[in-house]
Symmetry: C2
Subunit: 329 residues, 2 copies
C-alpha cells in the first residue's frame, strides 16, 4: 500500500509508491564522467574564453575559484526596473544577475573528489557574491544552485555552480516562508529546528550527523534519495554562516556526495541553497532556516507531476537513508 505524505513546511503532498519500489542500481540513468576537453572555457589557462572575471581566489600564479558572468544570462544588471501591466497581465524587465562559479581549475575534479578546504572556498565565493549583489536594492532574492551531469541540465562538464539574483521572491520560497511563518506563529518555534530535533530522536531518516549539520532524507521527498543538509544552529540566511560552519558543511557535503556516488553510480544531481530573501522583514531570522537540498536525478518528471505539483516517488526516505547511511565514503 502506498503512503501519502505531506511536507510540514510547504504543504506539498507526495506519494511514496512502494508498488513501484526499485533497488538503487535500477535507477541508473547516467554515470557522470568528465571526458576531458582541451577547449573547456573553465579550465586553468583558458581564462580568456570566459567573460571578464567578477571574482577570483588566487594562489601564486593560479586560482582556486573564479566567478564570471553567464555567457547567456537569463537576467542582466544593466538598466532600470520597469514594472508594467498589460490588461490582466503583469510584467517587468529582466533585471537581475546570472553568474557562474567555476569551482576548481581542474577539469576532472568534482565536489565529491576535491579536498575539503577547496570545497569551503566555493562556499566563500557564493557568500562573497551574495553580499555584493545584496547592495543592489532592486534585487529581492538570490538562488545558488548546481546542475551536475547532462541529465541534470549541465551544459558544460567542468565542475561549476550558478547564481541567479531576482527582482522578485520566487513562488517555491514564498511557500516555504509562509509555511515556516505559520508554524512559528502557532508555536513560537522554527519548523526546521523542530524537524532536526524530531529526526535526531527518531533516527530512521538520518544519513549522517556532525556537530554542526544533519544530513537527512526528508519525510516527504519528491525524488528518490533526495537529501537535505540542515545546519543545526538556527539562522535564516546562508551568507550569515560562520567560517567554522563552512568547514563543517564542506565535510558533510563531500561525505554525502561520496555516499551517493558509491550507491547510485556517480549520478547526475541538482543542488540548491535555500535561504531567506535579501531584504526580509525584521524577525525573519526567527522562522526561516537556511539549508541545502541535493536531488540526484534518477527519474523523469512526467505529466502527472507537472499537472499537480504532486510527486510520485518510488523510494521511501527511510529506505533511502538506510542505503546512504551504510554506504562507503
Amino acid at each position: 500500500m502506498a503512503d501519502l505524505r505531506k511536507d510540514p513546511v510547504t504543504g506539498r503532498w507526495v506519494i511514496i509508491s512502494t508498488e513501484r519500489q526499485k533497488r538503487p542500481s535500477d535507477f541508473h540513468v547516467e554515470t557522470v564522467t568528465t571526458k576531458g576537453d582541451t577547449l573547456c572555457p573553465f579550465c586553468q589557462g583558458h581564462e580568456d574564453k570566459t567573460p571578464p572575471e567578477i571574482l577570483a581566489y588566487r594562489n601564486g600564479g593560479g586560482w582556486d575559484v573564479r566567478v564570471v558572468p553567464n555567457k547567456f544570462p537569463a537576467l542582466r544588471v544593466e538598466g532600470d526596473l520597469d514594472r508594467e501591466g498589460e490588461g490582466l497581465f503583469d510584467r517587468m524587465n529582466g533585471i537581475g544577475a546570472h553568474e557562474v562559479i567555476i569551482e576548481t581549475p581542474h577539469h576532472g575534479q568534482t565536489l565529491a573528489t576535491m579536498g575539503e578546504p577547496a570545497i569551503e572556498k566555493v562556499f566563500w565565493a557564493w557568500r562573497e557574491r551574495v553580499l555584493d549583489l545584496k547592495r543592489d536594492i532592486r534585487l529581492r532574492h538570490i538562488v545558488i544552485f548546481k546542475n551536475h551531469g547532462a541529465s541534470a541540465g549541465a551544459s558544460l562538464e567542468h565542475s561549476h555552480s550558478q547564481l541567479i539574483a531576482l527582482p522578485i521572491v520566487p513562488r517555491e520560497l514564498k511557500e516555504e516562508l509562509d509555511g515556516a511563518k505559520r508554524h512559528f506563529l502557532q508555536r513560537e518555534r522554527c519548523v526546521f529546528c523542530d524537524i532536526v530535533r524530531q529526526e535526531g530522536r527518531d533516527g530512521t531518516r538520518v544519513i549522517a550527523e556532525s556537530a554542526d549539520f544533519m544530513a537527512l532524507a526528508p519525510y516527504a521527498p519528491r525524488f528518490p534519495f533526495e537529501t537535505w543538509l540542515m545546519p543545526k544552529r538556527h539562522r535564516s540566511r546562508f551568507e550569515d554562516t560562520t567560517p567554522g560552519e563552512f568547514a563543517s558543511l564542506a565535510r558533510m557535503l563531500k561525505d554525502v556526495l561520496q555516499r551517493m556516488n558509491t550507491t547510485l553510480l556517480t549520478p547526475p544531481y541538482n543542488l540548491i541553497v535555500h535561504s531567506a530573501p535579501l531584504h526580509d522583514e525584521p524577525g525573519a531570522n526567527d522562522f526561516y532556516h537556511w539549508h541545502v537540498e541535493v536531488m540526484p536525478k534518477l527519474t523523469r518528471v512526467a505529466g502527472f507531476e507537472w499537472g499537480t505539483g504532486f510527486y510520485i516517488n518510488p523510494t521511501g526516505p527511510e529506505e533511502a537513508a538506510e542505503v546512504l547511511r551504510k554506504a562507503k565514503t
Copy 2:
C-alpha cells in the same frame, strides 16, 4: 533584455529569456515514432496481457477505447482511508485509483493521426471514468494526463492516457483555485473567461480558434510552445461538457498536435486536463474554468526551476504562437 512575466491565475513568474532564443528546429530532442511491438499489451488481440478491463467501447468484434487499471498503480481503491500524524508530520494511506486509457487498438496511431470521432471517444471514456469514480466520496480530485514519447515519461509507446484519483486536492490545482477565486471576488468575473476575451482581442498569442475553443500560448508559459486549449463557454468541470463540445475539442486538439508535429518534428509532450475538484463548494462553477494544457517536452528542467518554482523559457509565447499559427496542418 529578458522579460519577467506573471501568470494571472497562479501568480507564478517566468523569465522569457530572449538572449537564449532558439529556432523551433534547435529544440529537437526526440521524434516520437512507434517501432511496432508484437508483444505490446495495449494492441488489439493482446487483451489478456492487461489487468481485467474496467470499460471498453466495442465495435462489432473489436474495440475503439479500453480502460484498464495501471499494472503498477501509484494508488489503490481497496481499504479504508487512514489519516495519521507522526509528530510534526502528516500521512495517509494511498487510497485512490490509477487507470490507463488505451486510446486506440492500433499500435501506430496517435491523437494527431486518429480520426476526430475516435479522439472524441477517448474524451467520452475519460468522462465516464470520472463520473464513476466521483461516486467514491473519499476521492477529492481526479487528474487526467498523457505522457507521449519516452522523454515525456511514457514507458509504453502505444497511445494511451492515464487517470489518477486522489484523496486530496493537489497543490498546483489549489493555487489555481485560490487565484481564480481571488479574481472572482474582486471583479465578479472568471479570470479564464477574461483571459479568453483579452487574448481574442489582442490576437498575438492565439494559435487557432473555433466556435467552442481557443488554442493559445499563455502569457507566462513555463515551457517553449506550451499551449492551452480553452473552452469558450464557462464551465468548471471537464465532465460537464456537452457532446457537441467534445467533437469540437477533438478537432482542436488534433489540429494543435498536427501543428506541433510539423513545426517541432513530432515532439514528445505532456497533456493535462485541469478541472475543478470533485466535490467543491456550491458556486465553484462561477470562478474556475476547465481547460487542457499541452506541453511539448523540448527542454530539460534543471536545478534553478526545482529550487524556485520559477521557469526560464527561451521562447516567448508571441513567437511560439506565430510559428504554430502558420504551421501546416
